[in-house]
């Protein structure tokens, strides 16, 4: 399976979607529900990619980019998660659990790389300080494009290294997976949904009346789920 992974195409996708998180164009192409679906589509299974994306999206609801907060970089991470699930198929026992661990770990490291990039941007800004302070257009524009290309490189490298580590690791793990397929999938989704439930409660309880809308919606949602 691992030899079938289109590493180059996924690396380019991870670079572009990693760039979208902060640098350009912040159109939320990097949200898990989009990025993991795209990752799954690249390996030929967008439906599994969507399942990975929806599950990672539940985690991402907890880490909204408010202010200068530090958060996982979900763009490149979701490409890795979606591709891993797509490579093995959503029905493979344990595939969702392994894809989620790979995506969260990549997102965590990706968040760290974003902080390092911001520090690097700071170093470049200090070096160009006198030129910026005297209004040189090339310094201002150069700093901006330098940060843009460094971020593109960061996302690509992160995706590449993560795929090189997790594709064989996932293959080896899934070959000796012992737990039931449906239970494995349920455990992964329940963990993600618990994080999301806590996140939406914390997010909306501060708005007057919102908790009643949440409870009303929950009643409707549970009814619809049961009737499906």
């Amino acid at each position: 399976m691992s030899s079938d992974a289109p590493i180059a195409a996924l690396t380019v996708l991870g670079a572009v979607l990693g760039l979208d998180v902060v640098s350009f164009p912040q159109a939320m192409l990097s949200r898990p529900i989009v990025a993991a679906t795209a990752g799954g589509a690249v390996v030929g299974d967008p439906v599994s990619g969507l399942l990975a994306g929806a599950t990672i999206e539940l985690f991402a609801l907890e880490t909204l980019p408010v202010g200068a907060s530090r958060y996982p970089e979900w763009g490149s991470a979701s490409v890795v998660g979606g591709a891993l699930l797509g490579l093995h198929g959503a029905m493979h026992p344990g595939a969702l659990s392994v894809a989620l661990v790979a995506a969260i770990a990549t997102g965590w490291i990706g968040g760290w790389t974003m902080i390092q990039l911001r520090k690097l941007n700071g170093v470049w800004a200090r070096r160009l300080r006198s030129s910026i302070d005297s209004g040189h257009g090339t310094a201002v524009v150069g700093l901006q494009f330098g940060g843009l290309f460094a971020d593109l490189l960061r996302g690509g490298l992160l995706t590449l290294l993560s795929l090189l580590a997790f594709v064989p690791l996932a293959e080896a793990t899934l070959a000796i997976w012992g737990a039931d397929a449906r239970l494995s999938r349920a455990v992964s989704v329940v963990v993600a949904a618990s994080v999301a439930a806590a996140a939406v409660w914390k997010l909306f309880r501060v708005t007057a009346g919102a908790r009643w809308y949440l409870l009303g919606g929950l009643a409707l949602g549970l009814l619809a789920m049961w009737l499906q």
């Binding site: 939320m28 909204l64 201002v140 843009l148 999938r185 618990s194 809308y213 919606g217």
Partner: protein, 262 residues
């Protein structure tokens, strides 16, 4: 009735306006812990500053660009308001000290309003709507297009409105920030998003787990219990970190099961 006629802004060629609008999408690419969004503001205002007397080589251009590239903090989408109003202030040759005071005063409101409206309102609302569509059985193309189309309709409209209102009002832009959409929008959005969240979470859970009422019913109960516990976690101990630990333990257990079965 008092007259509220605003002075007409100076002429801004369409190509300059488009270049500024395009640059707004890159406003954060040199974000750092010293200048924050500062260089990005200078980068976005720069096309307009070329219209100052003497052009790119003129003293006015250099002084204005140096002023606009200093420390600045705002929400990246609403920074468009600052870019429009600061560009107009510079082209109208307002007093430098006044521009600097105005620039400093813009930081707070453009940050807090944007965070509440976009990051804590519009983004989760669109994300939850996409999850609800997934839960109702929509395919990959429908879910992705629904999310991207809806989110970016709001995103691009906000940036375009910001640049336009900033340019039209110049240093009198404060009144635009009292717009009902910005003032009351976040609360309405939060209520709508809370309703969608309630519908979306069980539906998404149902589709992701698949058929089987016993497993699904048990899963709902566990989510309610674990969600209530996770809501009490201290802020620094984020749920996704704990989730990584739980999933890692689950993987180790599953591999041990394989050994036991053999």
């Amino acid at each position: 009735m008092p007259s509220r006629v605003e002075p007409a802004p100076p002429h801004l060629p369409v190509i300059t306006r488009m270049e500024m609008a395009l640059r707004l999408f890159m406003i954060q690419s040199a974000w750092n812990y010293e200048l924050l969004l500062g260089n990005g503001i200078g980068f976005c205002v720069e096309p307009a500053l070329r219209l100052l007397p003497g052009g790119k080589k003129g003293v006015a251009y250099r002084e204005a660009l140096a002023r606009q590239s200093q420390y600045f903090n705002a929400h990246p989408y609403l920074a468009a308001v600052a870019v429009g109003s600061l560009a107009r202030a510079e082209l109208e040759r307002a007093e430098p000290a006044r521009i600097e005071r105005f620039r400093t005063a813009l930081c707070g409101p453009l940050g807090s309003v944007g965070d509440r409206l976009v990051w804590a309102g519009w983004l989760p609302a669109c994300s939850l709507l996409a999850l609800a569509a997934f839960g109702l059985g929509a395919g990959p193309v429908t879910v992705v297009l629904l999310f991207l189309g809806l989110y970016n309709a709001g995103h691009v409209a906000l940036r375009a409105w910001g640049l336009s209102v900033g340019w039209r009002r110049g240093m009198r832009v404060a009144s635009a920030l009292a717009n009902p959409v910005l003032r009351e929008g976040p609360a309405h959005l939060a209520r709508a998003a809370a309703l969608v969240a309630g519908v979306a979470l069980p539906l998404a859970l149902g589709r992701a787990i698949g058929p089987g009422r016993t497993l699904l019913g048990g899963s709902v109960l566990v989510v309610a219990l674990m969600g209530a516990l996770a809501a009490r976690l201290p802020v620094w101990l984020q749920g996704w970190r704990l989730a990584l630990g739980v999933l890692a333990i689950w993987i180790i257990y599953s591999l041990a099961q394989f050994t036991v079965v053999r």
